[in-house]
Symmetry: C2
Subunit: 363 residues, 2 copies
DNA sequence: GCGCTTTCAGTAAGCGCTTTCTGGCGTACG
DNA sequence: CGTACGCCAGAAAGCGCTTACTGAAAGCGC
């Protein structure tokens, strides 16, 4: 149980009877070294199971092989999908990943950037919408400024207000518009929307694209048919419940994310509605599981893994211009079983205004 | 765009007109420092937005604040749940996390341990079953040995053959046995099992516990009713399809994991069977989504987040004994809509032996 | 054959911290 | 009043690397 220290480059050099510098050069391939010396070094390193001390390397000026990734919640399928792409690309490029989960706390996000600055990571990847609070935006701008000023690189999936950073942007606006048109084509004219926190760019874009496309078709969205909720399954459930409480006056509900749609589906069902017979439901993102729901969910498919792989590779490419680089990734409307033509007039009229009342036990 | 370097402790000391040593002591609270000096240092650090260089700290001997986490796939809901718990605990303890995703490649697992040794992480956390291959077990043992010999700590969720390491162990055997008894109580006597890769401890334990409990009730499991598949949704789908191809002779199917069960559910449905009317289906783990499936899945619930939090905190506790510490976490049987009493004899007899044939287009 | 360039191994100077050691000062005690 | 001691700030020695810089040997032209 003797606590033997780590094998150092010095040990390797000694074992190979060469100088420290030579050993370093061989191991990094930095310069030509006579074949026999090189072989001795390689053999010694192998023998001693030498692994360079990353801290020493970093301190001595070698470029960092560690990337920082910040997301809201690693267990959210949306982030998980993107994270998978990031990990895949990181593996391919021999990069390590420090993962940060903010649990949706803006203070934690700022703290992570600071900590990653301390770790001298090669780049920071922001996955998911930034926070709406003006104060935190300032904090982030300052913290990221400190980091980039010292040579750090920052990139994001999704738009960040007020931050000019490289990004891979899902085309939320166009995707939502395309979805709206597909829904109109099905015959729907009355819609409700379940959004996430209102000031997130993702939310604004998806809602905006959706309503714009409706407007083009001469359809308007009643204000009381838009409900804001948290970007979680339970947030979707709560939002849908709220909508039902207000009185559902729509033949089709659009949830800003699939995760919310999953909750909404449960809420609609719990309140006695059948999807899509009574009401159609659509989401956004195409997280894997929604294919297996009953009914399978209509959505706007985003290539989540590619998004992750994309940011990582975007940030790896050396920048030529001072302007931030933006890569747009389109979404694809996927019509599944949760959407259908709206119920016939007659049938719809028989629906209770608020199904909630129906469920209350009679006094 | 002048690439200004990072602020160093030296800058702080200079700004506060104290020595480097004093600044270090103040910032770390290592020793008493006169109040006015301390205030000056603190103010200077704040002013300059100083963040210590983690590499320099590590190199100079400060204990690492970084943990290494290795899992098979960050986007698998089982790992995602555990990872969430790990991240939560890490946040609470002010620890950073380097995440590794092996994509189920044993070579990558070994490579990650080596790299984490290079990063001098404080501990390595293995999430998920180890690999069955004897050769890779040897590789891992060697690599982990190198790491622990140098003072590293290792812990795991799930049993690792041949590796004596601290672990948080879900009670797979007892959980599966309890599930079997619950299923027997429902009236089932004929079972089929969809397992993951056979030599994984998790698989062995779950299958073993299940069959043991059946045996106790005098029920045996036909060999051809056990199908091995990959630990993925598609693996579950394929395994269930294989089972149907062989001829399903069971009123209840147990999938080793919920993820597989999701695939199995889809396969059963695609082949014209209704769950649970025609056949009951149960899984294991209780990943969040299965509550929202139709039918919602019966399972053995594991507190995934607690598992993650548990390993991290287990490894943080200083070890007293040389023996590996093991913390057992029980699972809870949760009966949901995917299981019911077996269909009545009469009805079952009318089912085709192999529904597959029915679906083939007539020639 | 002499002085030039070229090639390549070795020496040493940091990188930014922590921590031991040194030393100055103020207080308590003989 | 002088000596011993405690307290706390500063000087300096690394931690394990990378990378100039140094210098020895070898190859070349005249």
């Amino acid at each position: 149980m003797g606590q033997q220290p780590h094998v150092t480059l010095d040990d390797v050099a000694r074992a190979a009877t060469v100088s420290l510098a030579t050993a370093s050069r061989v191991l990094n391939g930095t310069a030509r070294v006579r074949a026999d010396l090189r072989d001795r070094v390689l053999a010694a390193a192998e023998d001693l199971a030498y692994t360079p001390n990353a801290h020493a390397q970093a301190l001595a000026g070698a470029s960092s092989q560690v990337m920082g990734v910040i997301c809201h919640d690693v267990s959210d399928p949306y982030f998980a999908g993107i994270a998978r792409g990031v990990m895949r690309a990181a593996t391919e490029h021999d990069l390590q990943v420090i993962m940060g989960s903010t649990f949706r706390d803006p203070a934690r996000e700022v703290a992570y950037v600071s900590m990653m600055r301390g770790q001298r990571v090669r780049a920071v990847l922001l996955i998911g919408s930034g926070f709406e609070d003006r104060g935190w935006q300032e904090e982030m701008r300052r913290e990221l400024g400190l980091y980039t000023a010292a040579g750090g690189r920052v990139a994001a999936v999704s738009r960040h207000r007020g931050l000019r950073i490289d990004s891979v942007l899902p085309e939320n606006r166009a995707g939502a518009a395309a979805l709206a048109r597909a829904l109109l084509d099905l015959g729907h004219r009355e819609f409700a929307v379940l959004t996430g926190p209102r000031a997130l760019t993702t939310v604004v874009d998806r809602l905006g694209g959706f309503t714009d496309a409706l407007a083009e078709a001469g359809v308007t969205l009643a204000a009381d048919q838009i409900v804001e909720g948290a970007f979680t399954r339970d947030g979707g459930y709560a939002a849908a419940t709220e909508l039902l409480g207000r009185g559902l006056r729509a033949t089709c509900v659009f949830a800003s994310t699939d995760v919310m749609a999953v909750g909404a589906l449960a809420a609609l069902r719990d309140h006695g509605l059948t999807v899509p017979a009574d009401v159609s439901l659509a989401g956004f993102d195409d997280i894997p599981i929604i294919r297996d729901l009953t009914p399978s969910l209509t959505t706007v498919a985003l290539p989540l893994e590619d998004l992750g792989k994309g940011v990582l590779e975007l940030i790896l490419r050396p920048e030529r211009t001072a302007r931030s680089r933006i890569e747009r990734v389109p979404g694809t409307v996927v019509l599944r079983a949760s959407t259908s033509a709206p119920p016939e007039r007659k049938r719809r009229r028989t629906l209770p205004d608020s199904p909630l009342t129906e469920l209350r036990p009679s006094p």
